[in-house]
């Protein structure tokens, strides 16, 4: 049975990430940043990635990483979700890194691990682990041509891992975004704190990776989906905590609204769901760390935590009343993150479709 607790190292890691984010990325500054032309806090990213070494948690020491595991990455993502921090962690430290490692790269992955460069994976953010290998980019005369929409963290990426269809089928390529023929067009996102962009490639030079492209892509997407669940848990936890605090202080009818039973019961139900989300998210992270029971653990966590985060954000908004509907209150940042994340790396339904196979419950 997998280890579902947080160990001491993980708790310390959480504390240091939380301290940093509390200090450097309170919601007021996140909200202020989203309407500027620098929606990502790249200084903060450098601290996280380089000083704290978090960009290389999944990377072996031999390649310059911290040689930790998905368990520690999950803890970091819980905190990034809790603070809706705009960083390219998901694109660079999770998706691109996992794909590069799985495809046997040793070059770019070291640069990403060191935080010198930022990477991402050129798939629409909605792509599920069990989706067919995308045919959006073709290899023609050794160069890449195609168009990929809603690529996460692309606008700050230096390097992109691109799934492409070559003469013999699926391939993975590494593309520098500074190369000739690369166009990056930002898309206005529903989630103000995580950016997406369209990647256009017109005869672009690239480096082909040697590993099994389909398996590597699937691995990267499953890792992404399983760890996104941890981020969604963080979002839900913030919503629960903040709402519990708000209803304890907001008075109407001469008493704190948190003393009204209907509100108490809704938050109790939400707490029960969040408790379960901790367990399923830990199970997925542990499965990714050990390589055992990955398929089911990821599908369960992804479907459960996706829906929970949306529910938690919706409850938070409602229980904050009018103040929650204002731009100047942070709850909408969490709602946007939760709702967008529900579509990311496979909807809950897609993950349940996958479970139908893994758990032998055919339609």
């Amino acid at each position: 049975m997998s280890d579902l607790l947080y160990d001491e190292v993980e708790n310390d890691l959480r504390a240091s990430v939380r301290d940093l984010l509390t200090d450097r990325a309170p919601w007021t500054s996140v909200l202020a940043r989203v309407e500027t032309d620098k929606p990502y806090d790249l200084e903060l990213w450098r601290t996280l990635a380089t000083e704290m070494g978090l960009a290389g948690l999944l990377v072996p020491e031999s390649l310059g990483g911290a040689e930790a595991s998905a368990r520690e990455v999950a803890v970091v993502l819980e905190e990034l979700g809790r603070a809706v921090t705009p960083t390219p962690f998901l694109g660079s430290a999770v998706l691109a890194t996992s794909a590069l490692l799985a495809a046997g790269d040793t070059e770019t992955v070291s640069e990403l691990a060191a935080g010198q460069r930022i990477g991402t994976l050129a798939v629409p953010l909605t792509t599920a682990p069990n989706a067919a290998f995308p045919g959006l980019v073709r290899v023609e005369d050794g160069k890449l041509t195609g168009r990929v929409g809603s690529v996460v963290d692309l606008e700050v990426a230096d390097v992109v891992v691109v799934p492409a269809i070559g003469p013999d089928g699926p391939e993975l390529h590494v593309v520098q975004t500074a190369s000739a023929g690369v166009t990056v067009t930002p898309i206005t996102p529903l989630d103000l704190t995580r950016r997406i962009a369209t990647l256009e490639l017109s005869g672009v030079e690239s480096r082909k990776l040697s590993g099994d492209a389909e398996a590597a892509l699937r691995k990267a997407l499953a890792t992404g989906a399983g760890l996104l669940a941890a981020e969604q848990l963080g979002v839900a936890q913030w919503c629960l905590d903040t709402t519990a605090e708000y209803v304890s202080t907001r008075h109407q009818f001469g008493r704190p609204i948190g003393s009204f039973q209907a509100i108490r019961h809704r938050l109790a139900d939400l707490w029960a769901s969040v408790s379960s989300a901790v367990a399923v998210s830990r199970a997925a992270a542990d499965a990714l760390a050990t390589g055992s029971d990955v398929d089911i653990a990821v599908a369960v966590a992804a479907s459960f935590c996706s829906e929970l985060a949306v529910h938690a954000a919706e409850e938070a908004l409602q229980l904050h009343g009018g103040i929650g509907m204002t731009w100047e209150h942070p709850v909408h940042l969490y709602l946007g993150r939760a709702k967008s994340s529900e579509l990311a790396l496979g909807t809950p339904e897609k993950h349940r479709d996958a479970l139908a196979v893994f758990a032998d419950l055919p339609a």
Binding site: V34, S150, L190, Q252, F253, V310, Q318, T326, K339
Partner: protein, 390 residues
């Protein structure tokens, strides 16, 4: 043909609609008693039954008659007019109802405050008497049309030493007073549909007090009852409203369909049809002189349904569901939400269960008035407002 229908025909014959100046034309309609037909003669009406209004409005609409400034009906028709009619002095009725109707004077509502939302009666805006005037200080919020309004219906506290429902007085506030500062209130959609209104030393003549001093809660209750009647009383076609946006996408984009979304869409389609029929039954009941209590249910169900539909709609859009058209702060020109993007609708509809009475308050009302369940013990009604915990 009914008398009223005949009167409408007669009026239309005497007042050509083409090229008419809307304000002048509507003024004439008011003077003919065809504005609010259930109002008394001389005040825009003919003393007809309330249920007669719909046929009259439809007849004018069919004749392409001039329609009021779209901002006018929002608060003016539904809330200010019936309250002024019920509690106003003769002078007030003569002064305010006609320009309210023609749209020359737009009205807004100055009720909610940052600290008084669901519990409106706890509001803190003060009005202190100074000779023939009242000096008003405080902050109001969620004020629709505040930036274009000429008048505001205002509730303020005139005696903080009384229990909260007793120390309130109702005023008609001149929005051009220099002490009135209207600021856009930006919402989670990025837009500012509403306003905050800061009142600093605003001087309201006692002649613009509506109802007696200390009777503000009673007067405000009339206003709010009319708000609830306004919502949900109109007839609708099948697939009107947000479900129509979702079904359109569904029909036009087979590539977006999945079995899970299909199941949810069909459930919501049933719920939307059920709500439509519920509202229609309410309308039929009103027309038959059997007003039912379903209005409270309709608003509650409306909010839940709209939120579920728009949530589904974002998911249905797949990759496009990740996008948003425009976050720029702006003033919306209309409330045509069906043509906005799915993300906008998703965010905006979150307000349906908060604005105009939260779903929680509606459930309390249903439990109290309709189910007549035992009430919750309350500790806030008998102590002076100034001593309430807040």
């Amino acid at each position: 043909m009914t008398d009223l229908a005949a009167k409408v025909e007669e009026f239309l014959a005497a007042h050509p609609t083409e090229g008419a100046d809307p304000v002048q034309w509507l003024g004439a309609r008011f003077d003919a008693g065809l504005a609010f037909v259930h109002f008394p003669v001389g005040l825009g009406g003919l003393g007809a039954s309330r249920s007669a209004q719909q046929a009259v409005d439809e007849a004018f609409l069919a004749a392409n008659a001039p329609q009021p400034n779209p901002a006018a009906p929002v608060i003016g028709y539904g809330m200010a007019a019936p309250t002024i009619l019920k509690f106003g002095t003769d002078e007030q009725k003569q002064r305010f109802l006609r320009p309210l109707y023609t749209g020359e004077e737009v009205w807004c509502q100055l009720f909610s405050e940052p600290g008084a939302g669901s519990d409106l009666a706890t509001l803190a805006t003060r009005a202190v008497r100074d000779g023939d005037e009242w000096v008003v200080d405080g902050q109001k919020v969620w004020t629709t049309m505040g930036h274009v309004a000429r008048w505001g219906i205002l509730v303020a506290r005139t005696d903080p030493s009384l229990p909260k429902h007793q120390g309130l007085t109702y005023f008609l506030c001149d929005m051009t007073d220099p002490g009135v500062d209207v600021r856009p209130l930006r919402q989670i959609t990025g837009e500012a549909e509403f306003n905050e209104v800061f009142l600093s030393g605003v001087r309201v003549p006692d002649a613009n007090r509506l109802g007696a001093v200390g009777e503000g809660w009673k007067v405000a209750t009339t206003t709010l009852m009319n708000e609830r009647v306004t919502i949900g009383a109109h007839a609708a076609e099948r697939e009107d409203g947000l479900i129509g946006a979702a079904t359109k996408t569904w029909r036009e984009h087979p590539e977006l369909r999945t079995p899970g979304l299909h199941d949810r869409l069909l459930r919501l389609w049933v719920d939307a049809e059920a709500l439509r029929l519920t509202a229609e039954r309410l309308r039929q009941g009103l027309a038959a002189g059997q007003p039912g209590p379903e209005g409270s249910a309709a608003k509650l169900t409306f909010a839940t349904l709209n939120q579920a539909i728009t949530g589904l709609d974002v998911e249905l859009h797949g990759e496009q569901g990740l996008t948003y058209t425009d976050w720029t702060m702006r003033r919306p020109k209309d409330a045509d939400w069906a043509n906005r993007d799915a993300g906008f609708r998703y965010l905006r509809m979150k307000g349906n269960s908060i604005e105009g009475g939260t779903s929680e308050i509606l459930r309390n009302i249903i439990a109290d008035r309709i189910l007549q369940l035992p009430k919750e013990p309350r500790g806030d009604v008998d102590i002076p407002w100034k001593d309430l915990p807040r």
